[in-house]
């Protein structure tokens, strides 16, 4: 989980320069975040953590803080595991 946070922080630091983001800090409250940023964040999470974020997950609350993002990734991973167990079994 710490490893996930490090990766996410590194990605976000390219956007939020000179600002040490806290794990529970609301990134949308920091000011300017546009749709181009949102799109790149989703792409990064999909690629880095090998998951597909579908329209049901596209709720700002899922991406508001680093901790929320980590929960989303873990949730998606758990669902994937379950479904692969079902299909594998």
């Amino acid at each position: 989980m710490e490893e996930m946070k490090v990766k996410i922080k590194k990605f976000l630091s390219r956007f939020f320069r000179k600002h040490e983001l806290g794990d529970d800090e609301d990134i949308f409250a920091l000011g300017f975040v546009n749709s181009l940023f949102a799109m790149q964040l989703v792409m990064f999470l999909e690629k880095e953590f090998a998951l597909t974020i579908d329209s049901r997950d596209m709720d700002l609350d899922n991406f508001r803080t680093i901790n929320r993002m980590v929960s989303l990734i873990q949730e998606k991973a758990a669902v994937d595991q379950q479904s692969s167990q079902v299909s594998g079994g």
Binding site: R17, F32, T52
Partner: protein, 427 residues
């Protein structure tokens, strides 16, 4: 009366689910996507509708996807409303859709070209030689001054898009771009780096521009139906032979979008219609000029508004060309090089009269031409052009234009291959 300009968005306007609404509703959109799938050899439509976003966002997919979606919107508009625009303009990548909808680049060529251009883009992006960022919240002048200051320090970073008075893009060498972001942040600027992007519209793109020009030079370009206001100089262009050179230079020159919007204002444009997957350029119109209504044909609510606005001009629809009226026009507009008067009378004059008879009947009854009447007219036109000794290349261009202008891309596609047409008629 409304004076319209159509706008075509560029990179970043794609999303999972793009064009799905229009695809489900209109056959022409399905056919347009199917043609793109055939050209590419993979299922672009599925990627647009189901994702993943990461896969769709690869430039080799996103570039053709945005083009197809834009052309599909434009085709639906022409079929459903059909009132013609005065100008077209595309933002960055969107310039390809503008040229395609203007009739200068053939759709299948554009799809293939943008897949290739996308592959080149992905390579440049992966190589990490440069970066690109959107800068919001600081005036264009300040960004230009800071770029100049950095250039004097021997750093390579330039303004690459003049979007609005307070939004620019910068491109250049990666460290220099980041350094400039920081400097602008001190003045209240906000940077959004485009992570998987090449450093578009600056001299870092020269090697790719050379590569691209090779591909561009191999294409055939058609006549312009509408002028395109180009990104490079915010001036109208309608010369087929200049398209290749323009699109190569386009990669290394900044996008003059602010000036493009001012051009529209100056020319009395009252309505811009964005032809793309989602509303991206619409807000940019409002940030640049007052008094121009800006709507996006790709979104349902805006589509309704556009229909309402244009419903006030029912008379304009009558001027929409049909295959019959266009065949008559082309028959007259082409140069005769056959001085055998007897043959001319027998083939050109008689064929022309036969097409005119079809048109007379249609005008009497007020009906639309049937597919059979269209085919008859095109077959007669072919005889006329052959007799006038119009070259095969020119004939191909005319047939492309007629079919393009009337939107009969798939019903009459067999007329786009002149050799096949010749066989068909001689049989």
């Amino acid at each position: 009366m409304e004076k319209m300009a159509f706008l075509f968005p560029g990179q970043g306007s794609h999303f999972v689910g793009m064009s799905k609404g229009l695809y489900d509703q209109y056959t022409i959109v399905k056919q347009t996507f199917e043609e793109a799938n055939d050209v590419l050899g993979y299922d672009l439509a599925k990627l647009c509708f189901e994702g993943s976003l990461a896969e769709l966002s690869k430039a080799k997919n996103a570039q053709p996807a945005i083009l197809v979606s834009s052309v599909a919107s434009f085709r639906v508009y022409m079929q459903e409303l059909g009132i013609v625009p005065q100008f077209l303009a595309g933002h960055s990548l969107g310039e390809y859709a503008a040229f395609t909808c203007a009739g200068a680049i053939r759709f299948a060529d554009a799809v293939k070209l943008l897949h290739e251009r996308g592959k080149m883009t992905d390579e440049v992006a992966v190589s990490g030689v440069g970066a690109m960022s959107i800068i919001d919240g600081v005036e264009r002048k300040l960004v230009m001054d800071e770029c100049k200051a950095m250039e004097q320090e021997g750093r390579q970073v330039w303004v690459s898009c003049y979007n609005t008075p307070n939004q620019t893009a910068i491109s250049g060498e990666s460290d220099a771009v980041m350094e400039l972001e920081d400097r602008l942040a001190n003045h209240g600027g906000l940077a959004t780096p485009l992570l998987a992007s090449a450093p578009f519209h600056c001299s870092f793109m020269q090697p790719m521009a050379d590569q691209l020009l090779d591909k561009l030079s191999g294409l055939e370009y058609g006549f312009f139906k509408y002028p395109v206001i180009t990104n490079r100089n915010a001036e109208p262009m309608a010369h087929s032979e200049k398209v290749a050179q323009n699109l190569a230079l386009h990669l290394t020159s900044p996008v003059q979008w602010e000036r493009t919007m001012q051009y529209f204002k100056h020319k009395g444009v009252t309505l811009t219609v964005e032809m793309g997957p989602k509303n991206v350029l619409t807000n940019m119109v409002k940030a640049n000029v007052d008094g121009i209504e800006a709507l996006c044909y790709g979104t349902k609510e805006d589509r309704k508004k556009i229909e309402q606005i244009l419903a006030a001009y029912p008379g304009l629809r009558k001027h929409i060309p049909t295959i019959i009226t266009r065949s008559l026009a082309v028959a007259v507009a082409t140069l005769n090089q056959n001085w055998d008067n007897e043959e001319y009378q027998e083939k050109v004059v008689k064929s022309y009269r036969k097409i005119q008879e079809i048109q007379d009947r249609l005008e009497e009854t007020g009906e639309k031409p049937t597919l059979e009447q269209m085919r008859t007219a095109l077959d007669l036109l072919k005889i006329i052009l052959d007799t006038k000794k119009v070259s095969v290349e020119e004939q191909t261009r005319w047939f492309h234009q007629i079919i393009d202008e009337t939107g009969m891309y798939y019903e009459l596609s067999d007329y786009l291959a002149p050799s096949r047409l010749a066989e068909k008629i001689s049989r």
